[in-house]
Symmetry: D2
Subunit: 340 residues, 4 copies
């Protein structure tokens, strides 16, 4: 860490900072410039408390020079992590599309959805049994009954399932139903208790980016899971909150090359929740894959106009099929594979 002293810092204040650094087992080195005195702390920077140092008298600024994340970082592991989702690979050269309805409604809807997913050549199915809704008066999901319908419909087509976990108390039932991928939603990205619990498992986890989470906070959230022992983490960019009101969120494609640089773990995007409109999905999906994403989490409904939730963002089975064709071609240009 680099500690910049204010222009009128006294010798005593410099001494104070050096003592705090030594207390933590690091070494301090003072260098006086023409305008500022700067102290470098040599040793394991993670042992120092950035804010505590900034609160000391005479300190203007403390600057980190080491990344705060560790296990999830590219420095920890140079090669791409390839995750095996019940037989389907994601990461490295392997791109996976994950599709299905926003929420589980009825056995018929799920059967149709599963068939459409399979027919489009998609290997993994999504569906929400528990829905986090802004209003307490909105439909909150079909719950464990929905999870059961989902499992059955997916099993019939041989599809692994991806579903969102909202509450630590639901975890046992999720494991009982052999959920193949646990999704941590945008509102839960910093629900640290939840992260710690899924960190104890081996089940792959999709970690959605918080609505206004920085790249660094997102990586640190993943570090919570990784620190528990579960390294099967997939990042999912789902749009960030900005001043723009025309669309729900702004899909942050820049996050894709940045995460590929900072972490060895796979990165996918959600083109449905980001834009919030079905007619934007194809363009955003292509942009994501072209930018280097390892997959998509895309909503498809057998009959979008009848969906119980987020109806206007789901594409229909035919649109999913043509999307798969375009994406396969783009992947090929980048030397990657979408197996359909």
């Amino acid at each position: 860490m680099i500690i910049v002293m204010s222009n009128n810092a006294t010798e005593e204040q410099i001494e104070g900072v050096l003592n705090k650094i030594k207390d933590k087992g690091l070494e301090g080195s003072v260098s006086k410039g023409t305008e500022k005195t700067v102290i470098g702390a040599i040793g394991d920077e993670r042992l120092l408390d950035h804010e505590l140092l900034e609160s000391l008298p005479g300190v203007e600024q403390a600057m980190r020079i080491v990344k705060p994340y560790k296990i999830v970082s590219r420095e920890w592991r140079k090669d791409d992590t390839v995750i095996d989702i019940s037989g389907h690979l994601i990461g490295g050269d392997n791109i996976q599309i994950i599709s299905g309805p926003c929420s589980v409604e009825t056995p018929e809807q799920m059967a149709k959805s599963a068939k459409a997913v399979k027919d489009a050549g998609v290997k993994l199915m999504r569906g929400g049994a528990f829905k986090p809704r802004t209003s307490p008066y909105s439909f909150q999901g079909t719950g464990f009954d929905g999870l059961d319908m989902f499992r059955k419909a997916a099993d019939k087509e041989g599809l692994p399932i991806v579903t969102e976990l909202l509450d630590v108390r639901h975890l046992d039932k999720f494991l009982e139903q052999k959920v193949d991928v646990i999704q941590i939603g945008t509102r839960s990205m910093q629900n640290f208790e939840l992260l710690r619990e899924v960190g104890k498992l081996k089940v792959p986890v999709i970690l959605k980016r918080g609505m206004s989470a920085t790249i660094s906070e997102w990586l640190m959230a993943a570090e919570y899971i990784a620190a528990g022992g579960n390294h099967n983490i997939i990042f999912c960019e789902r749009g960030i909150r900005t001043f723009e009101t025309y669309y729900r969120n702004v899909l942050d494609v820049t996050a894709i090359p940045v995460l590929k640089k900072e972490t060895h773990l796979p990165v996918i995007i959600d083109p449905s929740h980001s834009g919030g409109k079905a007619w934007m999905v194809a363009a955003l999906s292509r942009a994501g894959i072209a930018a280097g994403a390892d997959g998509l989490l895309v909503e498809m409904h057998p009959n979008p106009c009848d969906a119980w939730c987020d109806a206007d963002q789901a594409i229909n089975p035919d649109e999913l099929k043509s999307l798969m064709t375009e994406l396969t071609a783009i992947a090929k240009i980048l030397g990657r594979t979408i197996s359909i």
Copy 2:
């Protein structure tokens, strides 16, 4: 709700919208303007699904005209709600300052803090036993031991306690320790499971605004608590996330008059987490009270340079005392009372 059709919508599409409206028991009324056809839905708008309507063919936009929140709204209750916190009132003409350290560290630190709180004339004490931290490697709070230290130190000075609940599984212990006010932190504002649980109690709840939550989402989060039966809700503005990097968050003072208009419930501000620096606390506190806030949640540490967490944002006991003097004078100008 008002549904605006696109310029080339067909008669059949207009019929389709009218049918969906009727399905929900509302009445539709079509009016054709010079450029657009507009459909008004008459009846209880909350029964309609905004997004479903927007997904129908020929629809350009669906616009809500009724507020989505109910129990927390000023229309539901015209007069200010005054909440009784173990004998101390907040709301109406009553302003309450809540102070104490960011985190509970040791019995000595808590004893000193409680004394300083009392000496400054502050009636309610804050302290964090469980700390939500960005990094899994940072200090995570002293947990239930900390809660116990807090209860004892506060009891000695006769101060009710305010502390953050992170995990539904902690609730029993919180009730056992007779926590006087449960704080829901910024990262949990949309942890709907947690909101539902505190909604079943009668204990007052401080609901912090999510880092990038809109006013409407915040009111809806409170509605989750209120819908469960607990109407003792205090909103706490704690700074929002913006592009500015000089300070941690931007304290949104405009939220104060806006909430006072939209809801009958008390509104306080957190001048410590918003700016993130002790030297900003007095200015932000004065701004909050001057804008009409019903109170403050302000960090004070007996020795800020030794704090274990967020050291640079806590003021010291002397600063708390002079702040109380200034705030009392400002409150008086507005015809309000801070009892010290």
Copy 3:
């Protein structure tokens, strides 16, 4: 326009609103719902002042239902506008890459740059003679001398030139130097005097999006140019300002399909200024073209480490060449053409 009255609006207040509507030559129609009274204004909504209506007693909200932009809108012109830039087409099926250095430095640098642009198969060249810089102490561009160097270097390779106009007083010299495309920078998007001046010309204009401009404001800025008679407008998305600090801006790819829907004019992206780092350029460029952009404005420097300005965001000639190959392949998948 739809005017929603507040719950306790009086008959007199409703009358007041109706009078204001009639004053402007529109017709008002009152409809009373179960909770709200709503007034529809029938006629040319653009004649009404939205804010004035909202200021009237008893009015809760006034909602526009017609788009405020006209000439630039897709409703005004259904087909894609194809713009001819000194013989090179952009729009419709035609994609154009525009490349060159951030700033004009020396005749040698410009000669090398022009050659590299040509060699990569790029048809249009960019370069800044006047540079808007955050600091008055930074390099401000080589000015008219630079413009002259640029013209000469580009002429030698037969390349049309694109350069930024900062000051209305520079316009005559720009026309004298036969600048082929005038660029309006992000800081000038709402410099309405500048927009009006370029609106009087026929020279194509690249209108960069303001750093935090909404889609609607951006379209309205273009409307200023179009209203003057110049319909040769190209939108350029260059990243928006958000809370993220890892990268300079967030490239808003969602703006691409949205603009394609709202306007008939071409849309390009700037992958260099958005991310701010050369290593992100290829990924962002691919994302832009895959999302449907009509072109790129991409910085290339013959020797990036020696650039006088924005050094870390320019790619080198070899990188430009391989980028062109990838982009040509992606364009083909979408049924479009980059002629190289």
Copy 4:
């Protein structure tokens, strides 16, 4: 400046950085930590190009340690600058309220406004003759005729005038009309040509913050004016753009203590444009003064419901009077004076 090398930087790359530093006349000092090699550049950091250094091979990050602004900084001048506006002081202990209508409409409206301003005890009058409007089809101001009406009405009451300059070509007429304070609007904060021109004068300048300008960019914009020789600069916070849609902008009160720390120049706020609604003005005004602002720029209209522009944000003469009473009392608590 501190340059952090990446983990696998070679000796040659370190040498490369040292050479660039030496080229600019500074001295480089290498220190090797346990994880990172760090290079300190000793000498005048402003001579180094931050981005150029970041573009060099092997460099991970370059961090500034000296503030980029100079003349406007508190380090350059310790004491508060007090500016004399045609006999009225602002800065130090002196608070000034500036009031008047959003736009100049008619001689009668201006006469009434000037009288109301004077009657409320306000010493300085605002009014817009040239209006920057989002739409080319909206009212654009009464122009030079309006400026003339403004001058006459203000002269009759002996009030100095504050008005916005949009175009460098208008400057001569502004000087002819003896405009007492030139306002640079939010959209022009980085119109560097305009800043340079007002930098050549001695007339006080109100520099509004750009809609999404950082504190640092804002200070640098002021530095453009100061570098030209005009040190009579007043900062005006007018709300920043965020994700919130309930109100137009978020008044950033934190900017007040921050600017007071960073610069010796006065800081005022605009409570009218920030919230955008008349009913928010009093609360925001009080918050601003309580946070330490040196004044307000507040819209007042003799008959808000008839205003031609921004009608819903102007308060009326009576509201201005009671506001003055409240503000005077708050100022007194802070040991400051509003002379009425």
